[in-house]
């Protein structure tokens, strides 16, 4: 083995030396051979030969010096590398002579491949790269499953979880975890940071190790053990400046002193949570961060010999046994689901849609590269014919053309990486949380993306270069003759190929443009939707009210009232209202059904995400300009009651046209009965797209039980100007009160249309790129065609055709290609209409207006590209042209 390694090293060293020092090696070989001959001559002289004869004999024995030289050089084993290097040098020289051509090609490939590299960066982080845990395929989430309703629950009670964790015959280890947020007041500003309360076995089950210090250990879970925390790499960097001395220090989380014992590796996160700053132990008595935890999520590892299916069978048996020892109301079973399911849920339709779109861009880029290389091959027909005639093999010439293409593609690859870096940075700003939330990695240009780019660029070079190379070398010696050179390149097959390429490019561009057009159309409709409340001039101040700072609901309420007073006193503030959090929806009620009193529950029409339930104060209606259609708004007396105000959609759903006032309803079969006291118009609490959920319920805030509050502040001017004053007011009242978020209501509302906006921006960029590339393609075909046919055109003019006629002919030819491409493009767009339907709001994927505008626009752009070659066709001077011929 060692010998093999040594040999391989020696071999590589020799070859590298041979490559790098070709000149020196050759000189040394000459010297060596000269020495050899000299010694032979000496020897011959000594054996008594005449000097002349001695020399002759010596050279004779050497047996052809050049043959020895060649054979020795071949033995160095670097011949083919030198051939490739020579081709590359030759190619570079050719490229330097035509910088315009090279630049166009590099840009084409750079943009086309770059768009794909950026998209690959996203898809790779979200879906492709293995999860950052040891043997991630064996990880499953254990959920409760109600076979009657089919509903799946994320949480398991701690008693049940303990059974699952202890039973080694079903699973190879399991751990409970629960998310929470805590007050961290150790920094410049009090922060509410997300933490996870986990059973100490989590590192063992996930098979991850902390990067620094130790992880949580069973002893940390003991009652009375010193509280310890393992930090997230990012938090360690921001709060402690990545100081290794932070280990052993103490931080206060929700007022509880925790000793820092470790730091997790960079980028470590649970796939389920967007972000976690610290991990603390779930205690054996069922408490975490000093509070009792009742239930938690359960994550487990399958036994090595199990698949999900076989483990599920045993899990069913255990669930049945547990159900018997502790009888439950509903049939109780569990459902194992793979950890990677979280990832797939992130890959919603839009991601695949964009992937398909960048794939089209790549095709357009390849076609364009092909087109450019074809033109270049033809314009070099004579040069290549000469090389072939002089004895270069066809393979060698094809190899040379491919090498040239590859050199350009690699330059394009470098451009692509730069483009991808820029694109990803720009994309990160507008990437909707729906896409990034479940991603186990942050999106960026990683090593894998670079490899991908390299491979794709090479593929483009080879695929795009091979066909042109094959065509370009299919020439006879006849092409050398000046008389035939003009016509040599104009074989029908080649012209047809280029036309097909242009039609295909145009088709893909039009398909992408239709997509972009539909997204633009859909987005403008979304933005114009009346949300049912006024968003302008409102700042939203989100506060989390940590249990460690406020003893009970009353102390929270006192704080909120005092804060409202301070905020109202700020100049420029017109009004303040407090809700339970969010805009202005606070909680989502998850229910399988909604039921009017005296009627059977109905499950139909309920949104998947639950019905938003907003806790509002009496002044909510004035501040947000929400109109009461019937009944009354909330008054101070409603606080703490089960009175509700519903929107017209829910009222109609439950009671039809009858008046809902005074009637009762409930959500889910165990929900509180709520009494309707008022009806508001169509509110869009979940965002403009009402397919997310039609129903809205408002209930009175003021019980003070919430741990999260939103203060909406109406201003007389731009709300951003008030931000510093609002912050000061909070910290002036309570220096340890963290501000979770401070934004304008409009910004928060825009968040809910982040996905359509993201699609819109990306598709528009991609479509713009595609149409630019295909415009270059059309222009290239026509301009080249005119240049090729200048003799024919000159003859036509000479025999009486007028310049405008010729121009029109060229223009029509170009428009014909564009029209054919557009037709195919519309067909592609229609074929994809099923896939895009759910991504659109208020516009059909076959919307004739959008398609019509796109087709007309594309034809106009094509006409613009045809204009210059057409003009040139009309300006040919027959006298000069035919004289030359």
């Amino acid at each position: 083995m060692r010998r093999l390694v040594h040999r391989a090293i020696a071999e590589v060293r020799e070859r590298v030396r041979a490559l790098l020092f070709t000149g020196r090696e050759n000189r040394e070989l000459e010297e060596e051979l000269r020495f050899h001959v000299d010694r032979q001559i000496e020897e011959n002289l000594r054996s008594g030969l005449e000097p002349r004869e001695a020399r002759r004999q010596a050279y004779l024995r050497l047996g052809g010096r050049s043959r020895v030289r060649e054979a020795t050089r071949d033995a160095r084993g670097v011949r083919w590398i030198q051939a490739v290097a020579q081709d590359a040098r030759y190619g570079l020289r050719g490229i330097r002579k035509q910088p315009g051509f090279a630049l166009t090609l590099v840009l084409t490939i750079g943009l086309g491949v770059g768009a794909n590299a950026a998209m690959f960066g996203v898809v790779d982080a979200l879906l492709l790269r293995p999860l950052p845990y040891g043997e991630p395929d064996g990880l499953v989430d254990v959920r409760t499953f109600d076979p009657e309703s089919g509903s799946i629950g994320r949480y398991v009670t701690l008693e049940d979880a303990r059974e699952w964790t202890d039973r080694q015959d079903v699973l190879d280890g399991a751990f409970q975890h629960q998310r929470g947020s805590v007050l961290y007041a150790g920094g410049d500003e009090p922060l509410s940071i997300p933490v996870q309360i986990v059973a100490p076995s989590f590192e063992e089950v996930l098979r991850v190790r902390p990067a620094l210090g130790r992880g949580l250990e069973p002893a940390d879970a003991g009652v009375g053990a010193e509280p310890v925390a393992v930090l997230n790499d990012g938090f360690w960097r921001s709060a402690f400046g990545a100081d290794p001395e932070a280990l052993g220090r103490v931080i206060e989380l929700d007022g509880i002193r925790h000793r820092i014992v470790g730091v997790m590796p960079k980028g470590f996160k649970f796939p389920t949570y967007s972000h976690t700053e610290a991990w603390v132990a779930l205690r054996s008595d069922g408490t975490g961060l000093g509070q009792e935890l009742h239930r938690a999520e359960l994550t487990a590892r399958l036994r090595p010999e199990d698949t999900i299916e076989t483990a599920q069978a045993r899990a069913d048996a255990l669930a049945a046994a547990l159900g018997e020892t502790a009888p439950r109301e509903a049939p109780w079973t569990v459902r194992l689901s793979s950890f990677s399911d979280w990832r797939n849920s992130a890959a919603d339709r839009s991601l695949w849609f964009l992937t398909a779109a960048v794939g089209l861009i790549l095709l357009v880029a390849i076609l364009n590269a092909m087109n450019l290389l074809l033109v270049r091959g033809w314009s070099r027909t004579r040069e290549l014919a000469a090389r072939l005639a002089l004895g270069a093999s066809r393979t060698r010439v094809i190899g040379q053309l491919l090498t040239e293409g590859l050199v350009l593609s690699l330059a394009g690859g470098v451009a692509a990486v730069l483009f991808a870096l820029t694109a990803l940075r720009a994309m990160q700003g507008i990437m909707p949380p729906a896409i990034t939330f479940y991603s186990p990695y942050t999106v960026g240009v990683e090593q894998r993306t670079l490899w991908f780019t390299f491979l794709v660029a090479c593929t483009v070079g080879i695929v795009g270069g091979l066909l042109p190379a094959l065509f370009a070398t299919r020439i006879g010696v006849g092409a050398l003759s000046p008389a035939t050179s003009v016509h040599a390149a104009r074989t029908p097959a080649r012209s047809r190929l280029r036309r097909v390429i242009v039609v295909a490019e145009m088709a893909m561009s039009v398909a992408l443009l239709v997509g972009a057009g539909l997204f633009i159309n859909s987005f403008t409709r979304l933005v114009r939707v009346d949300p049912g409340f006024r968003l302008e001039d409102i700042a939203m101040l989100n506060l989390s009210l940590p249990a460690s700072e406020y003893e009970d609901g009353e102390s929270r309420m006192t704080f909120i009232r005092a804060l409202e007073g301070r905020l109202e006193a700020i100049p420029g503030v017109v009004g303040v209202t407090t809700g339970g959090g969010g805009l202005p929806a606070s909680t989502y009620v998850y229910g399988e059904s909604v039921q009017a009193e005296g009627a059977p529950p109905t499950a139909g029409g309920l949104p998947a995400g639950g019905i938003p339930l907003a806790a509002v104060s009496p002044d909510f209606f004035d501040l947000f300009d929400v109109e009461i259609l019937s009944g009354r708004r909330f008054g101070p007396a409603d606080a703490g009651t089960d009175n509700a105000i519903v929107d017209v959609d829910l009222a109609r759903h439950l009671w039809g046209e009858a008046s809902p006032l005074g009637r009762r309803f409930r959500i889910g079969e165990s929900g509180n009965w709520r009494t309707v006291v008022g009806v508001v118009g169509d509110l869009r609490l979940l965002g403009a797209d009402d397919r997310l959920g039609d129903f809205e319920i408002l209930h009175p805030a003021g019980s003070g039980a919430f741990s999260f509050a939103t203060l909406a502040v109406r201003s007389s001017g731009p709300p951003e100007a008030l931000f510093p004053a609002l912050r000061d007011a909070v910290h002036g009242l309570s220096p340890r009160q963290p501000i979770a978020d401070l934004r304008t209501a409009e910004a928060e509302y825009m968040d809910q249309i982040a996905m359509p906006r993201f699609l819109l921006v990306l598709m528009s960029m991609l479509a713009g790129l595609a149409i630019a590339l295909s415009t270059v393609g059309i222009y290239g075909v026509l301009a080249y065609g005119v240049a090729q046919r200048r003799y024919e055109l000159a003859v036509r003019i000479a025999v009486g055709a007028t310049p405008p006629e010729l121009s029109r002919k060229v223009l029509l030819e170009g428009l014909g290609l564009a029209a054919a491409g557009s037709t195919v493009g519309v067909a592609i767009a229609l074929a994809f209409s099923g896939a895009i339907r759910t991504l659109l709001y208020g516009v059909s994927p076959t919307d004739p207006v959008t398609i019509g505008i796109v087709v007309l626009g594309s034809l106009a752009v094509a006409a613009f590209a045809c204009w210059w070659p057409a003009r040139r066709a009309g300006r040919i001077d027959p006298v000069r042209m035919l004289n030359v011929g």
């Binding site: 040594h6 090293i9 020696a10 020799e14 040394e28 060596e32 020495f35 043959r67 033995a75 160095r76």
Partner: protein, 114 residues
């Protein structure tokens, strides 16, 4: 100078070179001389095959080369055996011996089935 031309089997030259170099480092000409002398002039080494073979063996890491001054004060490239080369020599010698014995047995065959 009538000599029976010793046609070298493929790969034999490398074995001979290894063997000769196992005595001491030497330059190409000396190597050719030495092999001729060791084979009692049966093998005549053609430079056309010697130098490519040396290049090949260098690439395989069996021999290394450096420039030294000869006794006559001229610069010459000397070749020397590496440890990998010594191993290779051992290896090839064994297999050569086995092969040549086998060939000998075949040639000496006089019928019968033993």
């Amino acid at each position: 100078m009538t000599r029976q031309s010793g046609e070298l089997l493929q790969g034999t030259l490398e074995l001979l070179v290894l063997r000769a170099l196992s005595l001491e480092p030497m330059h190409g000409w000396g190597l050719a001389q030495r092999i001729e002398q060791m084979s009692r002039d049966v093998f005549q080494i053609s430079q056309g095959s010697l130098y490519p073979a040396l290049q090949r063996m260098k690439r395989k890491g069996w021999i290394r080369s450096d420039w030294r001054t000869t006794e006559n004060n001229r610069r010459a490239r000397y070749y020397a055996l590496t440890s990998a080369g010594a191993l290779q020599l051992e290896h090839e010698t064994t297999s050569w011996r086995r092969a040549s014995e086998a060939v000998e047995r075949v040639l000496a065959w006089e019928g019968g089935t033993e």
